[in-house]
Symmetry: C2
Subunit: 397 residues, 2 copies
């Protein structure tokens, strides 16, 4: 009577959702201040004042029909032009507004790319640890998602495994850097190596292989680490960007796809993106926010709270005896669990009301994700509990 597939997708709660709801339930029992919920990736840095000011400015001074009316499907031409200029200024690229397609955030952007590119028997490759929604978005197009196991030392790309899996059906490779959940930033060396392999494979298989760069965390990178702009290394790159994290606009659903002129058959790719956006019923990206992000493009976000939280949580966990790569970006820590079974470990952590997400959820068992986009005071208070949890494991040794 309804689609069983849709019912399953809609009624089966994600692990993260289940943990979050458990937290809400526990908060009622032990009090909000005694719950240490590291499960969600909802930014806690307020939307910058320059965005609020610009929104009010537009609402007060512009003509309502032009603020709130339909835009053309690819998005407001002025906003796209401003965004292209901002990208060019920051990354020494050479885009125009015609290279951008505005979307309802990054979930829409990546799905539109999957849907636009996907043909029969196609495969998409991604690297663990990876964002779990990739799987259902790719499979919804009829294609297959292949996950390359993580390179555990540094969470860069596991090239030997990648070379085993890439094949003539590979349509695209999904890259997410700064990475959710590992916090790793792919180095220039990694990107160059990936690009070299793909160019070789394009020749071998005689068809384009795309990189889909999912990069909502681009601006959340620490210590001036370089986050390579991938179109400069590899022409068949589609960049998917969102203002969910950098401007804390997650609920507003605003982002874009960059389609460089240099991609093989720009006209076909851009046309298919427009078709996919239409069939996914994104008539146009929300119009007021198109204007606002266009005008605020490139204004740096204040990531000092994340930086502070990261140091605090990282140092606390290391002190408690956890093993963890120091993140270079995003707002997650991805430490090794204290037993092989990360699901059992996260269950045990609940005893201290520490709510953590098992790495298995991201295709990387044996680890766990802790979001530090939460209150600094929550992190401070959680450290002794992480220590107690670690002690409990030490006793078992």
């Amino acid at each position: 009577m309804v689609s069983q597939e849709m019912y399953k997708l809609g009624s089966k709660k994600s692990t993260i959702r289940t943990i979050f709801e458990y937290g809400r339930m526990r908060a009622k029992i032990v009090g909000e201040e005694n719950i240490y919920d590291f499960s969600l990736g909802n930014p806690n840095v307020p939307t910058p004042k320059f965005i609020t000011d610009e929104l009010i400015n537009i609402l007060k001074n512009e003509e309502p029909c032009s603020i709130h009316g339909y835009t053309v499907a690819p998005g407001d031409p002025e906003a796209r032009e401003l965004l292209a200029k901002s990208i060019n200024r920051r990354f020494e690229t050479n885009f125009s507004g015609n290279n951008l397609f505005m979307t309802a955030g990054a979930a829409a952007a990546i799905s539109i790319c999957f849907k636009a590119l996907s043909e029969e028997n196609d495969e998409f490759i991604t690297f663990a640890p990876y964002f779990p929604e990739y799987k259902c978005f790719v499979e919804a197009t009829g294609a297959k998602l292949t996950v390359i196991p993580a390179q555990l030392e540094d969470f860069q790309i596991n090239f030997p495994e990648f070379l085993k899996k890439i094949n003539k059906n590979t349509k695209a490779v999904i890259v997410n850097s700064p990475n959710n959940p590992s916090g790793a930033v792919y180095s220039e060396e990694t990107i160059i190596k990936l690009a070299d392999i793909l160019r070789e494979k394009e020749k071998e298989y005689n068809h384009p292989i795309f990189i889909i760069s999912d990069e909502p965390y681009r601006e959340i990178a620490y210590n001036n680490v370089k986050v390579p702009y991938i179109t400069k290394y590899y022409k068949n790159t589609l960049v998917c960007y969102s203002y969910s994290k950098s401007f804390s606009l997650a609920g507003e659903r605003i982002g874009y796809i960059v389609v460089p002129n240099e991609v093989d058959d720009f006209h076909m790719v851009y046309g298919a993106i427009a078709g996919a956006s239409r069939i996914l019923t994104h008539v146009n990206a929300p119009s007021l926010f198109q204007k606002a992000v266009g005008r605020c493009a490139g204004i740096p976000s204040d990531i000092s709270i994340y930086e502070k939280n990261k140091e605090l949580l990282y140092n606390g966990l290391i002190e408690a005896g956890f093993k963890c790569n120091k993140p270079e970006g995003a707002f997650y820590l991805f430490p090794k669990a204290l037993e092989d079974d990360d699901i059992a470990f996260c269950e045990k952590a609940k005893k201290y009301d520490l709510l953590l997400v098992p790495g298995s959820d991201f295709g990387c068992p044996g680890y766990f994700r802790a979001s530090y986009c939460i209150k600094t005071s929550t992190i401070e208070k959680s450290i002794p509990l992480f220590k107690k949890l670690a002690e409990e494991y030490n006793k078992l040794l």
Copy 2:
């Protein structure tokens, strides 16, 4: 190299788009004031001041993380509660916030319903004249759209043809009243008859058959005509609403689906709707606008401009010799073309820079659509041209 289906959907311009772009091109030659573009359904009544004021109020006084953060997938609980109360007040229904699922406008709402309900071999039925996007949205789910020919005398439902086409594979019937493009409002008699037939067929086929009520024009109805709230006549009804037209927020993509408690297996239907929304990558409806429409729900829109434009255009066309049903709602006139070939007729109208959409585009050849959500002065100046066009046809007789 890309999906040919998506490329076609994205690169083949719609008739309306083609006409619109022709108008832009002609405007450069003959001047904006000499183009009479009746092609688009983009509201020209400004967004009401109470919406602008509420948006500014929220932005100035509320906490940015709670304005712009993710909402739960079904939408902000407070907004849903307010919307449910407003529906209950106006239509004597009995919904709570749990019966609502917020969506990115009506295109998303109807597509989510199609995707949620669609199983193998399913058919959806709609009544000409109809919104052409229904076809690609329904077909994208793998189902088939069956179009019942128009009942030309009054654009109510052609029941004899409907009875010929309904069959055991019919999953749902799509109803759009006030109708785009005919301007007809389905009478209570029509709705009662439709409900009676569907209840009988549900028994005969032993499965539910849904009504999907696509009603973005609900509030744009003239002379206090009653627009029946269909859930009160038929329990398996899903209502798809949008603020695109009533509050002129077309670009902001905000609306909702109502799922009554009474539908067969509410839990399954609501769950499948959540799954379909997820897979169509509508993470949540835009959050700021969820709040704003919730708080402004039920405030009447000023439709006096549409009313005035309707009278002007209708009277002008009747005087010029056109045959046309007087619309009871929406902002379109759907007159009979002056020759059988509506496409040729619309081509001929271009000579006078009258830009009209052929009825064939809506599954109703021999007619044309003229949107009157344009400047009153444009309509005034167009009447003599419609008269000249009619005279040209009179000479041929």
